[in-house]
């Protein structure tokens, strides 16, 4: 090691991002349990909602067409939640301090986790759709509608992953991050994901219709199966962008504030 290495140059934004994305993807691939969960959970949920609950909720047998968007979001929410644990783990390990004392944009370490989460969850979405088609899902969407639906799903994953990343930054430890993140996983049940909001008591309907999941569900459902979308698409995009920007600002602020403190 005696011969001097190259003089210290600063790694560019692009190199830093790709290195951190590569790191987080490696983490994802090596976390075997989480990876198996990401594939098994969509299969289990699809079977559960189609064959166990489906008959009771809609005896006509078309419940699978109704429930697919809900299961996509349920899995995406579950999949994104591990970002909180990953981020909190990095923030409580000394490695973050090493990154911060290097002449790089250290916030890109979070970008790495977010990108890996997007990849994992798009894979899980693919599994949900594949499984849905096997159990009788018959979407009416054309190519553009599919593209639109995938775009909305990706935006939703991105927004919630950043939200979980911010939770991971704020939480003091990985287990605290996991606990805080858990609450959010109930949001899909209080929406039009599994039953129409019109079947709920009026006070609950108010909650369900004014939270971000319902417009996202209605938009995806409309694009895939042709139900009316109306202004729900704008609400969906607006909610996702709002969550995305707010989480990014909150996360960045916390990231900078926590320097040197663990």
């Amino acid at each position: 090691m005696t011969n001097a290495s190259a003089p210290a140059k600063a790694a560019s934004f692009g190199v830093t991002s790709s290195v951190f994305i590569g790191r987080s993807l490696r983490h994802s691939l090596r976390n075997t349990e989480a990876l198996i969960m990401a594939i098994v959970l969509p299969i289990m949920l699809m079977l559960l909602f189609t064959y166990v609950f489906g008959g009771a909720i809609d005896p006509s047998g078309d419940y699978v067409d109704y429930v697919v968007p809900g299961i996509i979001l349920l899995c995406a929410g579950f999949g994104s939640s591990s970002t909180a644990v990953d981020v909190a783990g990095d923030m409580t390990n000394g490695i973050i301090e090493r990154f911060r004392t290097m002449p790089i944009r250290s916030m890109n370490v979070i970008l790495g986790h977010v990108t890996a989460s997007l990849c994992r969850n798009l894979l899980a979405t693919g599994v949900v759709i594949g499984m849905a088609l096997l159990v009788g899902f018959r979407p009416s969407a054309g190519f553009l509608a599919w593209l639109g639906a995938l775009g909305v799903i990706a935006l939703f994953i991105l927004a919630f992953t950043w939200l979980y990343a911010a939770i991971g930054l704020v939480a003091g430890s990985p287990s605290a991050a996991s606990a805080y993140g858990f609450a959010l996983l109930f949001l899909p049940y209080l929406s039009s994901a599994f039953v129409p909001t019109s079947t709920m008591p009026s006070w609950l309907r108010g909650v369900a219709e004014h939270q971000p999941i319902t417009p996202v569900i209605e938009t995806i459902r409309g694009l895939l199966t042709g139900t009316p979308i109306q202004d729900q698409a704008w609400w969906a995009i607006g909610w996702c962008l709002l969550i995305l920007i707010a989480s990014y600002v909150w996360g960045s602020w916390t990231f900078n504030r926590k320097a040197g403190r663990r």
């Binding site: 090691m1 140059k9 790694a11 973050i96 320097a259």
Partner: protein, 295 residues
């Protein structure tokens, strides 16, 4: 005059109501090993965090490698490498992947990063474990990798925060050899430690820090002459320490102390002799030792 590697004057930092650094002044010449010796909570880590730009000081100034830690953070970051108190390596990656990642982040091309990783793995006796995940490493291996990661690119100043805490004697000695070798190559080393012996073995200059102030600064020899030599202990029948007498380590002084103890010792008591500990250092150097917690 040559610019010192590190110059600190009047540095202050509080977290809320708690004053952590209460006016620190020190100078570290280029190419030397500087040890900051102090108990837990003395402010050692906070000082390293300020010098490596992680934390901003409340008052005072610090220049590292000629760059101001507040006004020119980027300049400081290009001059230093930090090895924190807890091994800052990625446990899910292998040793090789850790080194390559840091190489890439330091601006090396992929082939350069790979070559550098192989070099460091061989040098730090980690070649056999190169493809194993760090999760499976022992404490000593982890620390060696941690240090190797700090050396992926040459930075003129290396911060080591308690580099050997938690290591067994053999790993500690191996790490000391590496630190001495690095200093031999002209790297300025600023380390913190709780062990008097470690500071004595490694450092050209030792600063003793307590309650956020430097209470003594000088060579190991100068410091030891102020602290004294071996300490005699009078131990009671139930292993409780009845009395401690610091000596200068000479036969005559020990003999005198023994005679004094012989006159006063209760039945069943015995005598022990030990090296001065951190507690003794602080008793000798601070006027109000009661405030200190020497855990």
């Amino acid at each position: 005059m040559i610019t010192p590697a590190i110059e600190v004057s009047g540095l202050r930092k509080s977290f809320g109501a708690q004053t952590v650094l209460d006016g620190i002044d020190l100078t570290v010449p280029k190419g030397s090993i500087f040890a900051l010796l102090g108990p837990n909570g003395a402010g050692k880590t906070t000082l390293i965090h300020i010098l490596s730009t992680l934390v901003a000081p409340d008052a005072g100034s610090a220049r590292v490698g000629g760059h101001d830690v507040v006004a020119d953070k980027a300049g400081v970051k290009r001059s230093v490498s930090l090895t924190g108190q807890f091994a800052a390596v990625d446990e899910i990656l292998t040793a090789e992947e850790n080194l390559r990642m840091m190489g890439r982040l330091s601006g090396l091309t992929p082939p350069e990063a790979r070559a550098r990783a192989d070099q460091l793995l061989a040098h730090f006796d980690l070649a056999a474990a190169a493809r194993k995940r760090v999760k499976t490493f022992s404490g000593g291996m982890r620390r060696r990798l941690d240090l190797a990661v700090s050396l992926v690119v040459d930075r003129p100043i290396l911060f080591l925060d308690e580099p050997t805490t938690g290591l067994d004697t053999r790993s500690r000695r191996a790490l000391w050899d590496i630190i001495l070798e690095l200093a031999g190559r002209g790297i300025t080393i600023f380390l913190t430690t709780q062990y008097l012996e470690e500071a004595d073995q490694l450092a050209d200059t030792i600063a003793v820090i307590a309650h956020g102030r430097v209470v003594a600064c000088g060579t190991a020899e100068a410091l030891k002459s102020r602290i004294g030599g071996d300490v005699l202990e009078l131990i009671g029948a139930n292993d409780e320490i009845i009395r401690e007498i610091p000596t200068d380590g000479s036969i005559r002084a020990v003999q005198q102390s023994l005679e004094e103890l012989a006159r006063t010792a209760p039945a069943g008591a015995r005598v022990g002799i030990r090296k001065p500990s951190m507690d003794d250092v602080f008793l000798a150097l601070t006027s109000n030792p009661r405030e200190g917690t020497f855990s």
